[in-house]
Subunit: 379 residues, 2 copies
């Protein structure tokens, strides 16, 4: 049905009406006093969202752009970096390190498995010459719906002392507890079209004092992505380059909504939706890609040989977009997004429609088992 | 008055209601078939706007980001480049070349003066070893309202044979005739919040075959700004990274509006508004920064010692934002934007209010002379 489209993918995520109205307002000059006030409010609320005293910078780039900026501002050619790779996005960060001439070491896990924290401990402890300059971790790997134990890995990085911990939090920030200061995270990158509940177009970076110290000796050339320029502008409630004014109107409104809901409630909601989705999948006899204790709260990946047929029915008949698998998992998994502006109702209707699609495709399971299992979690 | 703000600055420019409504629509998945169709339409219309058969790429960056990408994808460290510098933005392009380790030679003109085409001819003709790899020209220098003779400079670059011509068309594309293929322009960068009539957040690059050949041997590391990835994705009506979906909805609508108006009418309108503004300024006894034969059709810069007082009255009393001077021209000029979604009426009301502000500040000139002069042009 026209305009009845519902996004249950891990980004872009649904955008609240209030936020869409802010987005569609007439722009104002980005060098005006009125816009400076908006920047000041946003910067304050970004710190709240990141649970940090660190500077949080807003860039007019995608999440990939934010991750690139988060690496090339604090490292130099030839630097040894450990990159945890267990999916498509984490592999991309390793590619970026390689393209920029870093000595890149992948610490891999199968897609669907969390990174092995012990491997990081061993590598870091063995590095007595302190050659490792950064550890790059994807907190929630969107391609497989896996959450890795960032807190533990960060402890090992702190014990190492020299290395920075650089985090892809694109689908964990605003979906899972991520206390940047408590966990001592140096660089944390995120993107607007995820937990932030606004459309794509902005990337964010929180940067620790230790990272700013590394910035001083970092040797990659950069200008548009030079984070020092953003820091300097932030201090004056300004931006170094023309910012995406309307997306920032939307961001202002979305952050206000998040504050009203409260961080604890946001995290509890995402956890509840995740558990409901997983319980429903299991009740319908489906196999989950990620284990329970490493389940991303952004998206649930479910194994099925009927992935594309299921997606097609949900899209054509029920106007629900869910994601499929990427690369070698294409056609072998479906991914249900439950990130951002998603309510209990949204998960219930998705499970109900998924159940109908599976029935249509001849899957054998007890009727209503998915809906019943989900509803038990969503009490 | 609340929400009565009118943008008469050279960006962001006013956004048509239709475009704001498109902007505020709910996002859809950027990997969906529906979105591919939008990309295909946009790409087609971008070629129309650029008057080119070249690939035109859309990036999620500001105009500065587009210019940086337009240089670092086709050049290498140590390359000799000539950069025409006659204002704040053109100087920024020289800075970028320096930051990236190019042998950067500035060919300067005073702010308010066009670039001297003969200087480029001389330098290019003297370069018998073909060491000059690029000539970087700002077509319309926004900081001073000056249009340089890009067509002539491009001829000299073509005669040289080796160098690429890389153009900042941020405030000329969609405001002044810029036939990319006829003039043989290799790289042309522009930004969304100008002639495109959409809010800030996107940068565009048209790239010639000659530039793509240079891309193959270019040695700067890049990933998010790697234009080869954008070209490859364009061929499949896709994007390499998550695109700013809602800005692209807006872009689709704006390009449709531009097509209905027609390129010739758009250029004629901008020329008419420029002439009206300049005639009004002269009639009020004000001095124009740029000469008539090098007047940007994006913005008119007017000398006045009362710049900030004039801007304040226009902003406070009449809800009109006009721009001031930058760097050494701060406080010494006002800049009236007449770029993008600006009609004859908008210029008339700006001149009327400017006249009132000047009167309030004790300027001595014949009453209604500005409005009368403007109206004579806008017949």
């Amino acid at each position: 049905m026209e305009d009845k489209h519902m996004l249950m993918i891990p980004g872009p995520t649904p955008v609240p009406e209030k936020v869409l109205i802010s987005l569609g307002k007439h722009p104002i000059g980005h060098r005006s006093g009125d816009f400076s006030k908006i920047i000041a409010e946003i910067n304050q609320n970004l710190k709240w969202l990141h649970q940090t005293k660190n500077e949080v910078l807003s860039l007019n780039v995608s999440g990939t752009g934010a991750m690139e900026a988060g690496m090339i501002n604090f490292l130099s050619p030839g630097d040894r970096v450990l990159v945890g790779v267990n999916g498509k996005f984490s592999d991309r960060w390793a590619q970026i390190c390689e393209v920029f001439g870093m000595e890149t070491e992948r610490i891999t896990a199968d897609w669907g498995k969390p990174l092995d924290t012990e491997e990081f401990r061993t590598k870091l402890e063995a590095d007595s010459n302190k050659e490792i300059k950064a550890v790059v971790i994807t907190h929630s790997e969107t391609s497989s719906g896996v959450l890795s134990d960032l807190e533990t890995i960060s402890k090992y990085v702190k014990a190492h002392g020299e290395a920075l911990i650089i985090v892809d939090a694109v689908t964990s920030l605003g979906a899972y507890n991520l206390p940047v200061d408590d966990w001592g995270l140096d660089v944390v990158a995120s993107g607007s079209q995820k937990g932030y509940m606004i459309p794509p177009g902005m990337g964010f970076l929180s940067v620790s004092d230790k990272a700013w110290k590394a910035y001083e000796t970092s040797k990659f050339p950069r200008f548009y992505m030079d984070l020092g320029k953003y820091k300097k502008a932030n201090a004056k409630d300004s931006t170094p380059f023309t910012p995406p004014v309307n997306l920032m109107f939307a961001l202002q409104t979305a952050l206000q909504m998040m504050q009203r809901e409260g961080l604890e409630n946001i995290f509890a909601r995402h956890l509840r939706l995740t558990k409901a989705t997983r319980a429903a999948a299991k009740a319908m006899g489906l196999e989950l890609l990620a284990p329970d204790d490493a389940a991303s709260t952004a998206a649930t990946a479910i194994r099925t040989d009927n992935a594309e047929a299921i997606r097609s029915i949900l899209r054509q008949k029920y106007d629900i977009a869910i994601a499929g698998g990427q690369d070698h998992l294409k056609g072998k998994i479906i991914r249900i997004g439950h990130l951002g502006f998603i309510s209990d109702r949204d998960v219930m209707m998705t499970i109900a429609c998924l159940e109908a699609a599976l029935t249509e495709l001849g899957h054998d399971f007890a009727p209503k088992s998915g809906v019943t299992a989900a509803s038990k979690v969503l009490v």
